[in-house]
């Protein structure tokens, strides 16, 4: 996970990262173990948060050419294909939220490969941190 490589930088800007997954606990635990990611993770099996943050689902956008190419790229880097587990149509998103609960940045993925870069998120956190100094 690219964000995890930047975790020390995020801490420098007083930014904590929280992952939310709708997958079963056992899949989430296995994933954390396999990836070595140390961010906190919360489970949302009923996708209450996914719905509240208005994250979409799409079979077409989830399994388009871009997705196949992205997965091929990951496998070429050594990631293991585990088959399709859970709902592969659920799209993700990224939100930056300040201490008062106000949304600073909102990104709803249009397809699986559509995510903001770690660098972009870092820059936003840095800018917010600087504006508060």
């Amino acid at each position: 996970m690219q964000l995890h490589r930047h975790k020390d930088e995020f801490r420098r800007y007083d930014t904590n990262v929280l992952l939310i997954s709708f997958s079963a606990d056992v899949l989430a635990k296995n994933w954390l173990q396999e990836t070595g990611v140390s961010f906190s993770i919360l489970v949302d099996r009923e996708r209450i948060a996914y719905k509240a943050f208005q994250l979409g689902r799409s079979l077409l956008r989830s399994w388009g050419l871009k997705t196949w190419l992205a997965y091929a790229g990951l496998m070429l880097k050594g990631r293991r294909w585990r088959g399709i587990q859970d709902d592969s149509t659920q799209l993700g998103g990224d939100f930056l939220i300040d201490r008062q609960g106000r949304i600073l940045f909102a990104w709803r993925s249009r397809d699986p490969a559509h995510r903001p870069s770690a660098e972009k998120l870092m820059q936003l956190a840095k800018d917010h941190h600087r504006n508060r100094e």
Binding site: L3, Y13, D14, T15, N16, V17, L18, L19, I20, S21, F22, S23, D25, L27, A28, N30, W31, L32, F39, S40, I41, L42, V43, I48, A49, Y50, A52, F53, Q54, L55, R82, G83, I84, Q85, D86, D87, S88, Q90, L91, G92, G93, D94, F95, L96, I97, D98, R99, Q100, G101, R102, I103, L104, F105, A106, P112, L121, A125, H128, H129, R132
Partner: protein, 44 residues
């Protein structure tokens, strides 16, 4: 429902940790200058 956007207040949803404890999103954002919430896709 209107779209939730920058400047809006984030919904404070109560979810579960992997240990089965209840946790509210607000518990996380209140304790940091910024909270980056990453909604994952399926973990397969």
């Amino acid at each position: 429902m209107s779209e939730l956007n920058v400047g809006d207040h984030a919904p404070n949803i109560i979810l579960a940790t992997l240990d089965g404890e209840r946790a509210a999103l607000a518990d996380y954002w209140e304790n940091n200058e910024i909270l980056l919430v990453v909604f994952l896709r399926h973990l397969g």
